[in-house]
Amino acid sequence: MASKVRVETTINGEPTEFLCEPRQSLLECLRDVLHLTGTKEGCNDGNCGACTVVMNGALVTSCLVLGPEAQGARIETVEGIAKGNQLHPLQQAFLEEAALQCGICTPGFLVASKMLLEKNAQPTEQEIRLWLANNLCRCTGYDKIIRAVQKAATQMAEVKA
């Protein structure tokens, strides 16, 4: 059996250690080792975005990251978006706008959208579409997702003001 390496990392603000084979992707480590199964696998080659997480401030598809690369990194997943019982405005807007049907792509969309709003608090429709082009949704046709992101942006701006 393959020898495992020890990885120390930070996930959603919590210092975390795990053992993995080098060939295990970060996605596998999150799901199968750490049981953080909110991050989904849709294609395992970076083209669907269901496994999107934030790694050291950059959006990445965790299927294209090796587990050991998480050493010393800061990882943020869908499980870290809500603060305790309080849903993030994006999560709330996704529910209010019916921006999910089957929900399998939703974690990736939420992680990506959250980062978009952190970089660009009032994105245009076209900016949202461009940013989210790495995330495939087959159920909604994207319309309600775009509206949910716009709604969350507006609400977050109102809270700030």
Partner: protein
């Protein structure tokens, strides 16, 4: 995926020593090509060297004399958002925003795109057009290679076992120079170029004084079309000159028919995309005069 050993050297010297000890190792920067290929069984290394912790490979600096030093492992999202790149090399900043999607740009590097040496790589035509030079190092020493001489066949390049790409040097751009990369893809993002064209033109006294044109996805390697550049030099920037360059590009292309397009379609697109890229580059050149 086969088993392998993962190593993450922290210095260039350490990486070169490791690499010379394991010449069949594969180098990992963003992993957006390598991990896909390993998962598909197309690459089965015993050792993977993660080279993105090395300072030289993460350098992104600009000097008015030397131009831009772009470390081979700098991810696209850094390039795309870099103020100096946006100011001095807007086409490069834009390019870094169209490779893959947002989450691919979080990892993928221009250096990796070059070393993967796909004929359809988006970055290579622009690097050729901008006259980029590869800085290559091994335990034995260093050498430089112009980007247009880097790729040798689909997936192959001039790197010898033990050699790694440290950085790219892109000359500073004089006033009146404009560059552009344009590709044709069926979707609007997340797609492989059917045809791509990287162009650079310099205008002086209302005429084109320098021009370079390179193409993606129309030959076994990215194609530097010197005839297209020659067709532009000395001409006034306009449809006649662009058309001549476009025809030169079309004539130089030797594409294959595959699921992305037929020979006839790709040759046709070469002309269209080259012309449109030139129009954009000239517009930029005029802005930068």
């Amino acid at each position: 995926m086969n088993e392998f050993e993962y190593r993450a050297p922290q210095t260039l010297a350490e990486a070169l020593a490791d690499y010379s000890a394991h010449p069949s190792a594969k180098l990992l920067a963003g992993g957006t090509d390598l991990i896909v290929q390993m998962r598909a069984g197309r690459k089965t290394p015993d050792v993977v060297l993660d080279i993105k912790h090395i300072a030289e490979l993460n350098e992104l600096s600009y000097d008015a004399a030397k131009g831009l030093t772009l470390g081979a492992a700098v991810p696209c999202h850094i390039i795309h958002n870099s103020d100096v790149v946006k100011r001095e090399y807007p086409a490069l900043a834009e390019l870094a925003g169209i490779i893959g999607g947002t989450a691919i740009q979080g990892r993928a590097s221009i250096g990796g795109n070059l070393c993967n040496s796909s004929p359809s790589a988006d970055s290579i035509p622009l690097l050729i057009a901008m006259g980029a030079i590869c800085r290559i190092a091994s335990a034995k020493g260093e050498r430089t290679v112009p980007v247009e001489s880097f790729c040798t066949a689909p997936g192959r390049n001039v790197l010898e076992p033990g050699e790694l790409l440290v950085s790219l040097q892109i000359p500073a751009k004089s006033k009146g120079t404009g560059s552009y990369y344009l590709r044709f893809i069926p979707r609007n993002e997340m797609d492989i170029a059917v045809v791509g064209a990287g162009v650079e033109v310099t205008l002086s006294d209302g005429k084109i004084s320098a021009a370079r044109v390179a193409l993606a996805a129309v030959a076994p390697t990215p194609l530097f079309v010197t005839e297209a550049g020659a067709a532009l030099i000395g001409k006034e920037p306009g449809s006649e000159a662009f058309e001549a360059a476009a025809q030169a590009a079309r004539n130089a292309a030797t594409p294959i028919s595959d699921m992305r397009g037929t020979v006839a379609y790709r040759k046709h697109l070469c002309a269209v995309i080259t012309r449109r890229a030139l129009e954009a580059a000239v517009a930029q050149a005029k802005e930068r005069q």
